[in-house]
């Protein structure tokens, strides 16, 4: 059992690193317009921005990604995405799933159980 990441700030950091890996992997998939946080994720993003201004250190943008490292034998994650209608949603979802699972397993060394949720379709997508 990996005791170092089960409690306290160490877990927060591990969680953020894993979420960052997942977010980058998801954003790299064609057809993903953006990752979309809910209210909880948005508040956390504001908190991160405040911390960034106060400390001058960068916090990765992980809004739209929830990572749960509380179980020592696997990592669970939920990724909320907005998909452009010019792509087939099942394909985008499958690729994001694959990319996020691979990124999380590489980042944590544990098997990943990942859920992808398409929260919105962009009817006139512009990819950044």
């Amino acid at each position: 059992m990996d005791a170092a990441v089960t409690t306290g700030p160490a877990r927060e950091v591990a969680q953020l690193e894993a979420a960052d890996a997942a977010a980058q992997a998801a954003r790299a998939v064609g057809g993903v317009v953006r990752l979309q946080p809910g209210i909880k994720g948005l508040l956390r993003q504001f908190g991160a921005q405040a911390w960034q201004r106060a400390t001058g250190r960068d916090v990765p943008d992980v809004a739209g990604v929830e990572v749960d490292l509380s179980s020592s034998d696997q990592v669970r994650a939920e990724v909320r995405i907005v998909v452009g209608v010019d792509h087939l949603a099942t394909e985008v979802g499958r690729k994001v799933h694959e990319a996020v699972v691979a990124a999380l397993e590489a980042a944590t060394g544990r098997p990943a159980a990942v859920q992808i949720r398409i929260v919105e379709f962009d009817l006139e997508p512009r990819y950044s």
Binding site: R80, V85, I118
Partner: protein
Amino acid sequence: MEMNPDDTVTALHPLPCGRTVEDVWDELESGELSAHRADCPHCRTAQAGLEQLTEATQLLIDDPVEVPSGLLDRIMTAVRADLNLGRTIPLPTEPAEVEVSVHALAAVLRYAVDGTTGVRARQCRIELSEPGSVKVWMSVALEFGAGQVGALDEARQRVALALRGQIGLELDTLDFEVVDVWTRP
């Protein structure tokens, strides 16, 4: 679209002990400590959460930096994302677990129907009939004299095409209900 009364934002948030989060909030605001709250683990958990929220809010209020641009937009988008997740439909991507918000799906289907001359989509209900295919019910308004039946056939094809080509689902059944007729001014 009809709303489930349980979904309204005015609904209280009950705790397992029979009280509500709102009761705890009222008590915290008034500064009184009831005997119940002193002992109840549910109320104390709610209290801890509310205190964290108050603290976080205060930190944000005290933060002297200007409000980020597009703040309202970002908040509303986040609220919509939460609401959109009310009901979801699983996509046929086994073993990968991918779901799509029914609200988001309905928006795509309404958009597809609106592309038909003489037809305007109103409400849209979608249910999974079997894995990978859906039943759709949609109310529409038709333009008077626009060759309605032909227009609805085209709209039906557009829905089937959007489901197959943009989402990856098959259309099982589609019921249109004509709820209004308009004439061109």
